[in-house]
Symmetry: D2
Subunit: 365 residues, 4 copies
Amino acid sequence: MAGSIYGKIFQISTWGESHGKGIGVIIDGCPAGLPLNEDDIQIYLNRRKPGQSKFTTMRKESDEAEIISGVFEGKTTGTPISILIRNQDQRSRDYGNIMNTYRPGHADFTFDQKYGFRDYRGGGRSSGRETAGRVAAGAVAAKILKELGIKILTYTKAIGPVSVPENEYDFSQINQNKLYMPNADYARQASDYLEKCLQEQDSSGGIIECVVTGLPAGLGDTVFDKLDANLAKAMLSIGAVKGFEIGDGFAAATAKGSENNDSFCSENGEISKFTNHAGGTLGGMSDGSPLIFRVAVKPTPSISQAQETVDKDGNPVSLTITGRHDPVIVPRAVVVVESMTAITLVDLLFTNMSAKMESLKAFYL
Amino acid sequence: MAGSIYGKIFQISTWGESHGKGIGVIIDGCPAGLPLNEDDIQIYLNRRKPGQSKFTTMRKESDEAEIISGVFEGKTTGTPISILIRNQDQRSRDYGNIMNTYRPGHADFTFDQKYGFRDYRGGGRSSGRETAGRVAAGAVAAKILKELGIKILTYTKAIGPVSVPENEYDFSQINQNKLYMPNADYARQASDYLEKCLQEQDSSGGIIECVVTGLPAGLGDTVFDKLDANLAKAMLSIGAVKGFEIGDGFAAATAKGSENNDSFCSENGEISKFTNHAGGTLGGMSDGSPLIFRVAVKPTPSISQAQETVDKDGNPVSLTITGRHDPVIVPRAVVVVESMTAITLVDLLFTNMSAKMESLKAFYL
Amino acid sequence: MAGSIYGKIFQISTWGESHGKGIGVIIDGCPAGLPLNEDDIQIYLNRRKPGQSKFTTMRKESDEAEIISGVFEGKTTGTPISILIRNQDQRSRDYGNIMNTYRPGHADFTFDQKYGFRDYRGGGRSSGRETAGRVAAGAVAAKILKELGIKILTYTKAIGPVSVPENEYDFSQINQNKLYMPNADYARQASDYLEKCLQEQDSSGGIIECVVTGLPAGLGDTVFDKLDANLAKAMLSIGAVKGFEIGDGFAAATAKGSENNDSFCSENGEISKFTNHAGGTLGGMSDGSPLIFRVAVKPTPSISQAQETVDKDGNPVSLTITGRHDPVIVPRAVVVVESMTAITLVDLLFTNMSAKMESLKAFYL
Amino acid sequence: MAGSIYGKIFQISTWGESHGKGIGVIIDGCPAGLPLNEDDIQIYLNRRKPGQSKFTTMRKESDEAEIISGVFEGKTTGTPISILIRNQDQRSRDYGNIMNTYRPGHADFTFDQKYGFRDYRGGGRSSGRETAGRVAAGAVAAKILKELGIKILTYTKAIGPVSVPENEYDFSQINQNKLYMPNADYARQASDYLEKCLQEQDSSGGIIECVVTGLPAGLGDTVFDKLDANLAKAMLSIGAVKGFEIGDGFAAATAKGSENNDSFCSENGEISKFTNHAGGTLGGMSDGSPLIFRVAVKPTPSISQAQETVDKDGNPVSLTITGRHDPVIVPRAVVVVESMTAITLVDLLFTNMSAKMESLKAFYL
């Protein structure tokens, strides 16, 4: 099994390699009647596209999405939506030197162990380019959420040691800087930090934060398919993500119950919580507060300084990776986090509809 | 959907409520020929059982497992294994006062929102007691792993602010203290800390760490069903878990590529890594190094000091929770983490068998 | 994998062997708020129970169902419903002589081939007794359907050569004879035929027909999860079923298009069809006409006349099966067909709810 | 949900509409190391291609398959294989007159009921053209089976009343006539019959039979995922299929146990059966005999004689379908049956590998 299918009712199947002919996704289970065109998808793909700034790979990819099925006269028909993105700038010559060498921090070795050999051109299926299909599907999921009044805001909380404190968030800044940080000053500091990394032939990690508002309470299941469990899987399924936390997350481990519990309150008959240490979920179900979670992204493993490693026969190799690589993955991963969140939420919204006999009867009778 | 089924080939279905008649699990997809008896399961259940120390609820449950199907003449037959644990100490009178009140940090409110009403006796399905079924299944999964030479070691890394540093680990101590910490001194400090929490009518969170050795390289899939993604879901599906990180985890966000990359090396033809910042996985597949990850557990939400909240009609209530509650969930959750890990790994081992034509042919021809 | 889990959102997990300690089912994904008690289930189980007539095994089983979870104060809570039926009349001595022998028409040989050995007591998991769990779940599914105005009628169309023609159906007779046939005369003839089979130490096959009314049009998916495809799987998953046909079924193979097409008509704005050769489904989706399909059931393989076979070492054996066996499976399988139909339809009703953006918005906004 | 994903480990996702831009499939879970190129797929597609004879639609489609991912240097890599077939001869003007009319025997009405509207061009997703994706995937599955020594033979058993008796089968003839019948004389009779149907502006149904040899015994699961149950679903998921039977099928309903049971025998230590009434499966698992089953195919619903029907507002319409339509679906469906069989068997072979601890240990240790 290759594990390239995700979701229960809203199901996406992604395919494609970094330096193959193209990359894409099929979305099965999209409701009929959603207005959809290629621009909707392009807006999302552009946020992930290479070449946006000096901190992203110079690979030339227009990343133009073609919808080949599932849309008729401007609306989804309920049938699978197939989206195709042809690779343009394949330049496989760049990658010749890594054909037999195991790059540190990459999937070269594990791929060979699992499958016996690999498409060594630019990481193949394990390239970050794989996420283009997810983002195309995420654009569709996000459009469904929007129609239901649900909004997702995703941004770079930290790059290396430069982290924007919560009380200095200015969400209007997110799209004003190429790092997608919610504060212009911190964005500048982060930019300086990345500049230094580049000079040192090094790379940086960071943290992405995501906030979802407008979710109905009660979304998510009570045991294995908890809202937070499904989100955790969605996030860790993104290459380079090494951690996930919701609400106070790891800080809850050092807190006391009296500090960590969110008391309920009520205003005009609406029940809500005074605080949101939980991050919008209780017992695996959304609690009506904003959903808030963070992911830790490791530094780009492809760095241009020489690294010690071995080839596939175990011979020591001093590896110098040339070619086009982002010194930080975080800014381009922001939209991937948002996409996987949207896809996960849509699926939970769909599987949630039969939770009560009462609403089932209202639906069918 | 209730989301109480987990796994693709090795599939478990858990059921049962805190104060219903019992709790249990069905394991579908267990291979035939595994020696199995009730003692195998009891050993695991005992690690989760209430009443082990003064820091665990005094609820009296012998948690005796009965295997009702799937085992014949001491061996699994390949058919579903049904395991039943009757609840004994149901004392539902303890829980009368929470019938209409939304306890902070619990699933009462979200359960009502999703399902319209709830079994209010002791948390019902959202009680930590739900994990007994997982642990019973985990015992079976762990036995399969053992036959394949794979070992899981799980322990309490931290309770509140008391955290055992990696260089002071003494694994021989884990089962020598009731908190399952790998260091006797830290266990004493943690015990003192919990004592203080109890006196303050408060509770504590903590961190559990898990290490798996003996895994073949190449386990896990390359996109959505990454080894770490599936583990993240498994962990966040445990109530009270608020974060997951693998290898360096969140620390990788502040690291540089040159620090975070693990260089490959080779000895006697065996390829391995000098370091293990990745925590044993690359590109979603095991890399032959020990798998190492941590989860953050929030403080027990049930504390005996008075808390402000509301009832289901939105009226303010000052809630005092009496009855039996653990001041810390962590020690009893150690075996739950281990169980979910075992279940997740077994399933990935099974779905992995058709990865190569070569091994497929060796299997069938 | 043992394949004992069925369904996508309304999921059942069955377990148990013929001569083990018990048999049962977990239903995950049942909506909250459905009134349910053990009597609802018992009514269904009684239709499958042994000992109803001289044509059913004399095995003594009261088949009493205990609901152990998922129901609170008379209503389902949305959490898994665990139903347990303890085996009473295990009399395993009856089955000693088949321990090493491969009974013709049974799963003994294939079980050994797949799993290496088997629970040889009375067919183990491959016994017809396995269906008790399905019937318990079917009772719950049927209750959901009833609340939605959907009715299932299932009956014995034929036993051996005795087949009730469509124009002689009298549905009021179905529960008036022990063979569940919709015509008293044919029931008598069938009874005579079975009597003769018994005298000849032989057994008979037959045909079960099922009619569903009240289904909304548009149920079922357009490609793999067609309504009829899912029903076909459900039916062939019942041991002893060897064929499935919907509407005109195999007769359609010799028909012409002009005969087989059902023309649409309209009355008072309601669109329907003049005829129903299709059996209520077009393109895999229900068309608003009654759903009508048939299954072929093979003769009971356990016959008391001597049969040639081999033991597990390949030695020839003349096998005489003693003990309690139905000379015909059909009457007891009627409720199994009905149960699997109900379970399949409920699941499709649940997965169908997100088909249109319009209804999605009506549901959530 | 659109239900366009099939399989558990070997999973295919098909997409595309009759008159959209193209049609295709993603295969996830194909083992690495299978030699594969576009010719392998083309051979299968050509068997389904329109325009093979006067009895198939004259639509011009070269049906050229492009492999866009998952194959590297002539071998599968273990990652998703995306196969794209561009539609060429879309001529949507042919279909203008059916935009608002419900064609008898088609999915127009049910599609509108489920999704609110439809892509009315040539049946859209419910067109037989949808099967091109399945056939492309079937070619890959068949290649895997071939490497494992498993062979599938599929042919037209009957067209309308012209049915080839088993004792007149001559398999060498199958590819010698355009109807894929295993007897030249019957093929001529069937051809004459179809000629007459054409003259009468009518169409014919038929029966396809499929025989699989070389299957290991023990394949398939014991309860819901029985080999025959999964095949039944696979077959009924093909549009126009109205019935499925395995072995003696419906004839078993009138047989006696003594006739229907297949006695086991043994030669040189190999256990087999004297007869094969069961059609190669016992208790849902393959028994080592050839697997043999049949499907009933209804007559093409598109006939050129005038038909009574209604438009979407319920107004009566006399419909005359012009354009290109096969007077019989059967010959082109032969390869679809073969493809769905191959896909189903491969998936069961993959999920079967963890059935025994013994083989699990041999695999991993």
